[in-house]
């Protein structure tokens, strides 16, 4: 069970993030999670939205380079040690995390949502599910 993440190529110059978010706003897209990885000349903005296909179409319409990738959205208890236990589950199965960030999803009080990009989605989903970790589906994301 994975969710779709949008990646957008953004040059490092004033106004680009404004343009990306304008394009999404214009299409009525709601952003569920966001992170930016930056280099000297450019950044890659990763976002999780309520309607990925519509968001990609809107971004391409505005001239942006955007692509979709499958990532895992994990629900964790908002308490010390819960992230450590999730990492341990992945480590035990030799799964590598490429990057991760937090989402703006607080369905239940006391819970946090993490977005994980791993080198092997299937193995990670199996390992996490078997360990009883709650994952969020694409459908759930769009309905929030």
């Amino acid at each position: 069970m994975t969710v779709k993440q949008l990646s957008v190529f953004v040059e490092n110059r004033p106004g680009r993030l404004s343009a990306v978010t304008e394009a999404l706003a214009g299409a009525g897209i709601n952003i569920r999670a966001v992170s930016i990885a930056d280099t000297k000349d450019f950044g890659i903005m990763r976002i999780i939205v309520n309607d990925t296909d519509k968001a990609i179409a809107a971004l391409k319409e505005s001239g942006f380079l955007a692509s979709a990738a499958n990532v895992i959205a994990v629900i964790a208890d908002d308490k010390p040690g819960s992230m450590a236990s999730i990492m341990k589950i992945l480590y035990n199965d030799n799964i590598s995390v490429e990057y991760m960030y937090a989402a703006f999803i607080n369905r239940d009080k006391g819970m946090a949502c993490l977005i994980l990009r791993v080198d092997n989605n299937d193995a990670a989903v199996t390992a996490l599910t078997e360990a009883g970790v709650k994952l969020i589906s694409e459908k759930e994301i769009s309905e929030i």
Binding site: F9, V10, A37, F42, G63, E98, Y99
Partner: protein
């Protein structure tokens, strides 16, 4: 001080005598290529001209032009006019893919070339008492070996430094008392800057002159180099196709370069129509080498745009003068002394990405150093959500460009459609250097 010449008879020869000499040599040269180079013979036959039609330089315009494409078609031996066993040397252009030119030299060709360079060194004030530091690259490039040979011929103490390792260049300059520096103008400027950075002044070195060529430079750059090194800076012109540096050289007047007309007949043509233009008119420079044995070029189109002048020169030389090249009639760029064709960059992009994305070459000059940037529009299949993948691609592109061109470019990945279009086509080259 009286002007010194390396070959006074030739360098100050009256015009009518020079025309007579050129005519005799041209007639002989045309017969030589007709007899020995099937490629030339075919070209001449196609234009309906034979050696019988060539009686002197007034008939030069009847001959077909030769272009870089001909040299490429003839690679490597197609234009060779003597048995390979009579050749003693090979030099080559800077290694631009698909456009590499290999030039052959007999011992006489090498002697002629070195004689031309000796004239340039003498015009810059060089004698056998001088210490000449050659900081051009050695190897297939003609810069190092050309100035090296000319310096030997004059009898100067020659330091074959090659380019690079600037602090060592300066150390040698100080310890061995170099008096003449030969390199590219941008490297001379860099040596000047490094000298100051190392805490020295021009008074700490004995340099009196510099002979700089292989890339375009401006009057401002000349003044800057002259000031930073405490020297007089002289321009030198040449191309591998004709021999190397020394086809033309500057005298004490520092206003245009005297062409060694006894070896090279210069013409200016309209690059569009190929029609010869009168002296004083701007057009494309065309050379005919009338003394070269192994690799004689007849009416070779240099693609350099300049002006020829026969005004009397205060140095006493009667050799025609060419202005600094004012541009090119093709799309070649000279960056850091290296010839760059936009098509080469396209080749790398196609190789690395299957299809050529839109790109733009941006050349600028910061201080005296060329900067070279290539902007590449990222496309769907080049993009990934991880920085790692995109950076890997950027590095591969950078390495491949360096391998093909021999110089490093800064690769900047940009958003799709961000490179400005002009009538639907992307603007490929932006040269901000204002060299003319």
């Amino acid at each position: 001080m009286a002007e010194r010449y390396w070959n006074e008879q030739i360098e100050t020869m009256p015009r009518d005598e020079m025309i007579k000499l050129q005519s005799e040599r041209l007639v002989k040269q045309i017969k030589h290529v007709w007899d020995n180079v099937p490629y030339y013979r075919k070209k001449m036959e196609e234009k309906g001209v034979s050696p019988d039609d060539i009686h002197g330089i007034e008939d030069l315009h009847k001959l077909p032009f030769l272009s870089k494409t001909d040299l490429r078609d003839g690679y490597p031996y197609g234009l060779l006019a003597v048995p390979l066993s009579d050749c003693v040397r090979i030099q080559s252009t800077s290694g631009t893919t698909g456009k590499r030119v290999v030039a052959f030299y007999t011992q006489n060709d090498v002697d002629m070339w070195e004689d031309c360079v000796a004239r340039a060194i003498t015009a810059a004030g060089g004698t056998k008492d001088d210490v000449v530091q050659v900081a051009y690259g050695y190897g297939l490039f003609t810069g190092g070996s050309g100035l090296h040979g000319g310096s030997h011929k004059v009898g100067c103490l020659t330091l074959p430094m090659s380019s690079g390792n600037t602090e060592r260049q300066i150390q040698f300059m100080i310890d061995l008392g170099s008096t003449i520096l030969c390199c590219t103008p941008s490297y001379a400027a860099y040596i000047g800057e490094t000298l100051a950075e190392m805490g020295y002044t021009p008074d700490d070195i004995k340099l009196k002159a510099g002979i700089f060529g292989a890339e375009p430079w401006t009057e401002e750059m000349r003044q800057q180099i002259e000031k930073s090194l405490g020297i007089k800076a002289f321009d030198i012109y040449g191309l591998t196709e004709t021999s190397g540096p020394g086809v033309a050289f500057e005298c004490c007047e520092q206003k245009g370069m005297h062409i060694n007309e006894d070896n090279f007949i210069a013409e200016i043509i309209d690059p569009e129509t190929g029609e010869p233009l009168p002296d004083g008119t701007k057009g494309e420079l065309v050379f005919t080498s009338i003394t070269k044995e192994a690799f004689p070029l007849i009416r070779y189109r240099t693609r350099d745009i300049c002006v020829l002048s026969r005004e009397k020169c205060s140095c006493g030389r009667t050799l025609v003068k060419m202005s600094k090249p004012m541009g090119r009639s093709d799309d070649m760029l000279i960056i850091k002394g290296v010839n760059v064709f936009p098509s080469q960059i396209e080749t790398v992009l196609i190789k690395d990405f299957k299809a050529a994305p839109n790109y733009q070459i941006i050349v600028d000059r910061i201080g005296t150093t060329d900067t070279f940037e290539i902007k590449v529009e990222l496309s769907d299949d080049m993009f990934s959500d991880t920085i790692k993948d995109v950076v890997t691609l950027e590095k591969k592109l950078s390495a491949d460009i360096q391998q093909i061109l021999g110089i490093k470019a800064k690769i900047t990945l940009v958003e799709p459609k961000s490179i400005p279009r002009s009538e639907g086509k992307a603007v490929r080259v932006i040269d901000k250097r204002r060299l003319v």
